[in-house]
Symmetry: C2
Subunit: 282 residues, 2 copies
């Protein structure tokens, strides 16, 4: 039987399920963890959601996502910081070791990506004390360059690793996602350089050819062009023992199917790439 | 009156025009150059096309594109090399100083991007003697990472600049495009590092928010989020005196309009960013 003890499903994968349905559906399928989205957690109520997850015995690799900070007026920016503090509290309450920071891209009307990046770093710096107080790390996720304008201006693994180093590994780490980074010739070497201590969770998602939509046409593992076996081998080799998490945005396919079917296929496709660490022969 | 002496239109921008129509339409609008696509040139006949362009007095910054070499069987790969040699000949005949190499991504069924990249480098090495013989450089264009699987596995400016250095500046150079590289935090520094001697032509194209299609929703200058003034200032500063070229793939907008309208708007929008080099005050 497949070892799913490190395996979580990111609940956006079953978009139409409530938190309660997702917790129940994943647990029944033998999946060990659930990556939670703030919107669903708010809908359930944070305390009640935390109890559901605990009662089902699921682990939580992360809470998705931080609130966007691509706001150029000071009051709006500070409100976004407060919302991020609330989300750090919520992450702590559900036992998530990190809050995935997807900080937004350019502000409205802005054309200066360097300024946007500076603003994001400033926001992270302001959030560090609260991250430390809650024991929840800021999870820096390099997002695909095609999202630079409107989702996140953090678009390379190397950039995020630099930030983790400058902000401090005690309170930050990397959230790596095959979908966002597979194209990057330095992704593999970046994972190696980061080391297991800086990789908070590892997202699995395939790249489809053709990709029919910029946002919501991400592929089920095995349906695209990504070599997941190569990533599993590398992560085993560097000593990564953390979670694996499937995360799909799929408006043409998986979001249209029954959640139980999506979960069953996700388990079947991911099982070969999420098991216990294989020791490398030396 | 605007100085359009460095300005060319890439003919894919007026997709529905033949080469003859494009040459005529651009020349009438006062545009100095035309970037030619092989399909249109073949349709016109290479010799006849070359004559049309010469008679209209247009310069040709490049021929688009090289034939894809993402073919894993040896016979197919060699046939693609031969087709690239034919295109180098054609580029020479129309007076284009470079052939833009968009070499394809993964081969059919392939999941190894590193292998694809090695194959592409091998192809370039095999083409160097013919490039030298024809006096046409191989123009290495970093394509947006979202095209890594199925258009080009060359996806960063830094990677292309490394290749130019290893293959030799005598026979290769960079084709830079704002659309493909704007997200890259090291694009500006890369241009500076490359220097004007390694930049063969500079493509202008805006990034739309939202981007509705992965392939064919590129934006008219000014309609998106790219800061063209910043690029012009940088290129002036480093001493770039080469061509500027607008290149749009726009199935929802500009491809649907009359070519003369597209040309007129392109001229108006690009004029502020394509003029003579401004000396930097020191």
């Amino acid at each position: 039987m497949a070892d799913l003890s490190r395996f979580a499903i990111n609940q956006i994968t079953t978009r139409d399920w409530t938190l309660e349905q997702a917790v129940d559906g994943y647990a029944r399928a033998g999946v060990a963890g659930i990556a939670v989205w703030m919107e669903y957690l708010d809908a359930a109520g944070v305390t009640q959601g935390a109890r559901m997850i605990r009662d089902a015995g699921l682990f939580v690799p992360c809470l998705c996502t931080g609130a966007w900070v691509n706001i150029s007026d000071k009051a709006g920016f500070n409100a976004a910081l407060d919302e991020n503090r609330r989300r750090l509290d919520a992450a702590a309450e559900i036992g998530a070791p990190c809050l995935v920071m997807v900080p937004g891209g350019l502000a409205t009307g802005e054309k200066n990506l360097a300024a946007a990046r500076s603003r994001v770093i400033g926001a992270f710096e302001e959030l560090l004390p609260h991250a430390r107080a809650t024991g929840v790390k800021l999870g820096l996720e390099p997002l695909h360059p095609m999202y630079a304008a409107d989702r996140s201006c953090l678009n390379s693994f190397a950039h995020c690793l630099d930030l983790v180093r400058s902000l401090g590994s005690a309170d930050t780490g990397i959230v790596a996602d095959t979908y966002h980074c597979w194209w990057d010739a330095s992704f593999m070497s970046g994972l190696r350089e980061a080391g297991p201590e800086n990789i908070l969770t590892f997202h699995l998602c395939d790249w489809l050819v053709p990709t029919r939509d910029v946002y919501h046409d991400r592929g089920m593992i095995g349906d695209g062009v990504i070599d997941f076996a190569a990533y599993k081998a590398l992560l085993d080799e560097i000593g990564y023992d953390g979670p694996f998490e499937i995360e799909l945005f799929s408006k043409f396919d998986w979001w249209l199917r029954d959640g139980h079917e999506t979960v069953a296929v996700a388990v079947e496709r991911c099982a070969p790439f999420v098991g216990a660490r294989q020791k490398v022969a030396s």
